[in-house]
């Protein structure tokens, strides 16, 4: 409740934001009556969430004391708001509280108080006053089909809004699978031409995939940006290495069952009750890069595999097209939904054996004269 009340008070009301502009987080907290102790607690938590060592706390303190609160705009395009929902459920309420408080979140359609022209003004004002300094958080993909008419806000297409906002941004974060790789909107046949953010802007984009991404991971990324003022180390797909460096499988608590070859064969069987590996139930853990098995969800309560269901690979590109979810191998294109590469391969293998056998028979019939000829030649030449 504290979180939401704070959100309601501080987000998207230009007057409050403008008061806060140009001051540091520490100054802002002092204005609100927080003690130095509260401030240091916040710094320590922020450092932990961003994955710093203990020695990094001093850096956080220094950054929060001196750096101006960065202005942030949170754009919503083709999405379901599950990223926002996830974000406000981060397991460290003090961090959410503080971050939403310390962030100068000037524009976010879902949570802001302002509406209509007032809301649009918040956005344009933020861009004008913070050129090159503000952070853009994008939720949702951008439709490029039919000149972008599938998603329009205030009479402008999502793409034109994105280009305007991205032009002078200090950093761009793509929240969730929609913004990172298109997600369900970009699944075949992708009728709206849904396109991930990194394909539309010529700046580096921090991809935080997942449907939704883990709240604490989102917190970690934001904290990193705020504290160090720089982009975290990214992998080849633009994902922060600290959270997307390992596969769900590598850190899964059921992994020993995988190595032992102990698999759930059906959701109803004894193996499922024993908590064996869900690999044969189509678990995407071995091909999915995310922090689920470490950070977990809902204040570290559980994650899909712990709840007895395989990972569906929601943070991987094109996971909607890699179905069925309960099959380890994708259905082979063009051969029906139930046929895997193995079905097709077996048919090809058997057909080859049959072909070879037929060829052997034909050889013995058609080449009989040749074989006989070789024998008679042998006789003649002798």
């Amino acid at each position: 409740m504290t979180v939401l009340s704070n959100v309601g008070l501080n987000i998207g009301t230009c007057t409050v934001s403008e008061v806060g502009m140009g001051i540091s987080i520490w100054q802002s907290m002092q204005q609100k009556g927080y003690s130095r102790r509260d401030f240091l607690q916040l710094c320590a938590t922020a450092a932990t969430v961003a994955g710093f060592a203990q020695s990094g706390v001093a850096q956080v303190v220094s950054a929060f004391e001196k750096k101006e609160r960065p202005a942030v705009v949170w754009m919503h395009f083709q999405e379901c708001t599950c990223c926002s929902e996830s974000f406000i459920r981060a397991s460290h309420p003090i961090v959410v509280d503080a971050l939403l408080d310390v962030l100068d979140l000037n524009y976010t359609e879902t949570l802001m108080a302002a509406s209509g022209f007032q809301a649009e003004k918040c956005l344009t004002d933020t861009i004008e006053k913070n050129r090159g300094k503000y952070i853009v958080l994008v939720e949702g993909s951008v439709p490029t089909g039919a000149d972008g008419v599938y998603c329009m806000i205030g009479g402008k297409t999502a793409e034109s809004i994105l280009q305007t906002v991205a032009k002078d941004a200090a950093a761009i974060v793509a929240w969730g699978s929609c913004a990172s790789n298109g997600c369900v909107q970009a699944a075949k046949p992708n009728p709206t031409g849904a396109t991930p953010i990194h394909k539309l802007v010529d700046k580096p984009v921090i991809n935080v995939p997942g449907c939704p991404p883990i709240a604490d991971v989102m917190m970690g990324v934001v904290t990193h940006l705020l504290v160090l003022g720089q982009v975290p180390a990214l992998d080849s797909q633009g994902r922060p290495k600290e959270f997307y460096g390992r596969r769900v499988h590598d850190t899964c608590y059921r992994r020993p069952n995988y190595d032992a070859g102990l698999f759930v064969e059906s959701f109803d069987d004894e193996n499922a009750r024993k908590g064996y590996c869900l690999y044969k139930m189509g678990c995407r853990g071995p091909v999915t890069y995310n922090a689920c098995s470490v950070v977990k969800w809902n204040e570290g309560t559980s994650y899909p595999i712990q709840s007895g269901h395989g990972c569906i690979g929601c943070s991987e590109e094109g996971f909607w097209d890699n179905g069925p979810f309960y099959q380890h191998l994708a259905s082979f294109p063009g051969f029906g939904i139930e046929s895997t590469a193995d079905t097709v391969g077996t048919v090809v293998g058997v057909a080859t054996l049959a072909g070879v056998a037929a060829h052997a028979v034909v050889t013995n019939i058609r080449k009989r004269p040749v074989i006989a000829e070789v024998h008679t030649e042998d006789q003649k030449e002798s």
Partner: protein, 245 residues
Amino acid sequence: MPMSAPVIGASSGLPAIPKHPVEYVRIYVWELPVRVYHWINAVALVALCITGYLIGAPSSPFYASESYQQYWFGWVRFIHFLCAFVYVFNFLARLYWGFVGNRYSSWHAFFPFTKAQQTEIVDVIKADVLETKLHGPISTGHNALAGLIYFFTFLAFVFQTITGFALYSSMSNSWLPRMFTWIVPLMGGEFGVRFWHHTFMWFFVTFIIIHIYLAFYHDYIEGRGTVSSIIGGWKFEREKSDKKS
């Protein structure tokens, strides 16, 4: 003369062995490195196909109740990775030998650039595959069609190597697999890489079936010792008919 050379078949009523049998020339075709390559490759490939299939579709052959009691799936994967490394370095050695080996193992055999090779491809298809033409002189080493198909197989080798190392790279800090991480986003994530890596296994299964059959077929039809040549290295050509190389 206490011991005279026995005449085989003389007393059994079978036709006597001709006094002057057909003259065969013994040709050393497959040098030792080529034979060693072939058999290492054969063992590795079969092991890779079996373990690869099991990794894709594991069965549960052993009973255990707790995971610490066994590690069989871990071993299957270990054998797969081990064979993959053997297979790759073995393949690289064969590529090297394509430049320093004899004329039969030369890289030229795998590319039908010459008119003679192109004619032979048509010939082999007519004589061996379709059996519409009964006779066809065939090269001593790889025939031109076989050479071309081996070239396609090499491409499949390369594809499996790249995708395999790309899949392996997330479990490894070694530079060799890490060289191929770039392929993962290119194929739409590891799921796609795994899918194609698995699908290409069936290319090798099909190749193995046809390859073994054709080796036996050529041995049977031509009587030149095709099968034994990959063990001892020698093939035999009738002196008269050895017009082509």
